[in-house]
Symmetry: C2
Subunit: 161 residues, 2 copies
DNA sequence: TATTGTTATACTCTATAACTATA
DNA sequence: TATAGTTATAGAGTATAACAATA
């Protein structure tokens, strides 16, 4: 016994360590996979919010992502400069900017989605198919009911980052 | 069909979303659990490195945690001010600070460990015991082999944050 | 008066560079 | 010459406060 160990537990078994580094590794993998497309995983999160939905206000996107509306400005700035989205005043309420994915934006999303899924697969590679499914299901389960009364929230109210 | 959905996949199913928010929730739970003891989950990580080991240099602790040695200074400053650790020059190499957990520091760690484990339990509450074990095992599995040749690294060489 | 987007500012976290004392 | 600790500084990232336009 090289190290006298009063009350030693293996630190790498701590769930906090495991989950944090799982997050770090998955982020690194997806960032690498998306980099050739000129976006990162945070950008991809924005695309995921916009795709397949009606045009949204900047604030609505920000709320979905759980970031401040001031943070959203620069993100949309970048997307608009790259021609990924259009930003025009909402005719119904001209305070709002209506954010809409462009054709090239949708094409980019499709490529990004493929790259993202490949990164997921790489991340999950050490698990067999059954375990991978179970892993995903367990993640969903631990996120579902932080409500005290045990009722689940409808999916569309959840934040998305 | 309220929302016309060209190429829609549910964003909450993305593994990136699930892992990120699992991390956020677990961190929130552990921070809350540790707050009454005057420490947070990052502090607890430092305690976990120090407990049950010989006294270490600041740099060794920093390396284990994967942070810069300059970041370590303030962390140890706080611990020393609270009497959790002692910091004295290593007689063998007086450039080094020998960091050692004090008696009260060890007592604090034990309380913190109990609080931390309770937070883990709360996090895992939606899973039955078998699934919880499988979940932990899956997390370990996806973290083990980022080495290209497939060989695992010895545990003591891994970073710990 | 309240809200959306915007800008300017501040705050947190962490790393880089430079200094000191030791080796 | 190189290394451990320290300090000062700078860089991300994100939030808060204030302002203009609109409701």
């Amino acid at each position: 016994m090289p190290t006298p160990a009063p009350h030693a537990r293996e630190p790498h078994d701590a769930l906090g360590y495991l989950v944090k580094h799982a997050h770090l590794r998955l982020t690194a993998l997806t960032d690498t996979a998306l980099a050739p497309l000129g976006i990162d995983s945070k950008d991809f999160g924005v695309l995921r919010v916009l795709v397949g939905r009606e045009p949204m206000s900047q604030q609505a996107v920000a709320a979905k992502l759980g970031v401040d509306r001031t943070t959203m400005v620069a993100l949309i700035d970048g997307f608009e400069a790259k021609g990924i989205v259009t930003r025009k005043p909402d005719p119904a309420d001209r305070r709002r900017n209506s954010i809409e994915l462009t054709g090239p934006g949708l094409a980019l999303y499709r490529k990004a989605d493929a790259a993202y899924l490949a990164a997921e697969d790489e991340f999950l590679a050490p698990l067999d198919a059954t375990t991978a499914t179970l892993f995903r299901r367990a993640l969903r389960a631990v996120l579902t009911p932080p409500t005290p009364d045990g009722r689940d929230r409808p999916d569309r109210d959840r934040r998305l980052t």
